[in-house]
């Protein structure tokens, strides 16, 4: 092994082997290892009864469509996401709308993603020119009916924060193409979190939050309580 990557195991002498056998050295090593694990903290959570893992920001879960700081839809219906998707699971049908619903004169009339085919690669997110599309942190995607696995715009567009701009009245300039950083969405301090709050986009994540299991008409949800979190690892 001249490449130096493989450490050669040191040869035991016969005497050493003999003593190792007699005093059960390997056995004791094994036992102490398992004892260490026995006393260490376990890595599993009491999900879904009491705890829930809140992933980091970079996590790629269920898609969300975002809005800008005035509450306008960021999606301009350019279909780039649909084109870039390797599994062809996004359908976008654009339409004209100059009422100020979106940031441009074009919005998506239909925006659907079929989660049964999606592999959460994130290419759609990268392709989106306005950062409207983001793979969020929702990972509980099981549902009772297959048709529920097709997420449409109503279900993934985040709720508006603020009134839609009345451009005529305020005389404000539409901003056109712009990049809205997700951090511009109101920051909420952890203490303000109530049970059942949606995990905000700018929440750091990587914590283990207290949670409760809730049954709703659509299925079962584990609702995290972000005011009670524990740092994990």
């Amino acid at each position: 092994m001249s490449d130096g990557y493989i450490l050669e195991k040191r040869k035991e002498s016969a005497v050493e082997t003999f003593f190792n056998r007699i005093f059960f050295i390997d056995f004791i090593k094994g036992l102490s290892l398992t004892l260490k694990y026995n006393l260490s903290r376990s890595i599993t959570l009491r999900y879904p009864d009491e705890e829930k893992w809140i992933p980091y920001k970079r996590f790629r879960g269920q898609h969300t469509l975002n809005r800008d700081e005035y509450g306008r839809e960021l999606c301009v219906g350019c279909e780039l996401c649909a084109k870039s998707c390797p599994t062809d699971c996004i359908t976008v049908i654009p339409m004209e709308d100059s009422a100020g619903r979106g940031i441009a004169d074009r919005v998506a009339r239909v925006w659907e993603v079929n989660l049964t085919r999606c592999m959460f690669c994130g290419l759609c997110e990268d392709a989106c020119p306005t950062e409207a599309l983001k793979l969020g942190r929702e990972y509980e995607l099981s549902c009772f009916s297959l048709s529920n696995a097709v997420m449409d715009k109503d279900r993934i567009l985040i709720a508006g924060q603020g009134e839609p701009l009345d451009l005529e009245a305020t005389g404000a300039e539409p901003k056109g193409w712009m990049k809205v950083s997700l951090d511009s969405i109101d920051y909420i301090t952890p203490l303000d979190f109530k049970k059942g709050d949606r995990v905000p986009a700018n929440y750091e994540g990587g914590v283990n939050a207290a949670a409760s299991l809730e049954r709703t008409e659509d299925g079962i949800r584990v609702v995290p309580d972000l005011s009670k979190t524990k740092k994990w690892w």
């Binding site: 398992t34 599993t44 009864d49």
Partner: protein, 333 residues
Amino acid sequence: MPEMATILEVLFIIFKVVVVTMILFSLPLPLTWMERKIAAHIQVRLGPFRVGPHGVLQPFADMMKLMFKEDIIPYKADKRLFRIAPIISMVPVLAAFAVVPFGNDITIPFLNEEVSLYIADMDVAILYILAITGIGVYGIIFGGWASNSKYALLGGIRSTAQMISYELPMSLAAIGVVMITNSLSLVNIVNAQQGWHWNIIYQPLGFFIFFIASLAEINRIPFDLPEDEGTLAAGYHVEYSAMRFSFFMLTEYVAMVLASVLAVLLFFGGWNGPGFLPSIVWFVVKVSVFIYFFMWIRFTLPRYRYDQLMTIGWKILLPLSLFNVLITGFFLI
């Protein structure tokens, strides 16, 4: 008409038998919980957590489940034998506790009566325990044979060979202790170890042989070949379900307790210990440590192969135990 004292004595014996049996029957409940928790924590998991705080009620849930399950008897099984096999395996381990002493004599507060903490003190207690636990293997053999299934039969055959091979070193290791204390009665053996003269000091080799052999006798990892999941599905109890299956499980746990008890009585001074705790507490503490050790080993070691098992039994443990007897004899002379 017998006198009052005789009646009282008989009543006490019956009472003791009932109490010991109740304890033994309920022991698997905490033990299964312990085993699952220890398994979980060694594997960095949490283990049962949903029934009761920290899952302590899980064994009760399991018990309910086992009680309400269908009792399936295979069509081609030897039905009578299939039915009694779990009982045959259970009775000997319970019977072995008849001669196990649990502590010093205690005085009952109101009756002012000395009560010994054993059901019987036999002259041949060790021999009796070793003999009667050897009978337990019949439950496994009959269970395996009567199921009329390949895996079960193989499990039965393996367990016969294993029991025979390991009974010898186990008994011979116990002989070392008998030679030192000059008695076959467990009470005398424990009394001879008073004041830190624990036999482990004089018989370390004997203890190792005894411990390894008892691991094999109670079918625990690394010697659990009769119920090897990897090659035999579940071995001798593969066809069993519901309460009959749970009898086998109960046997296994009680046998583990018995092995711990024997190790404590023979080598670790029984209930002897510093005086600030009652003798029975010392006894329970020591036995618990051993039970933990058994579980700890289970989740540390892999299983031996069948030929390795035989090699260890016949070529290593048996000569070593004979050697141990010889050495002990020399020292005594």
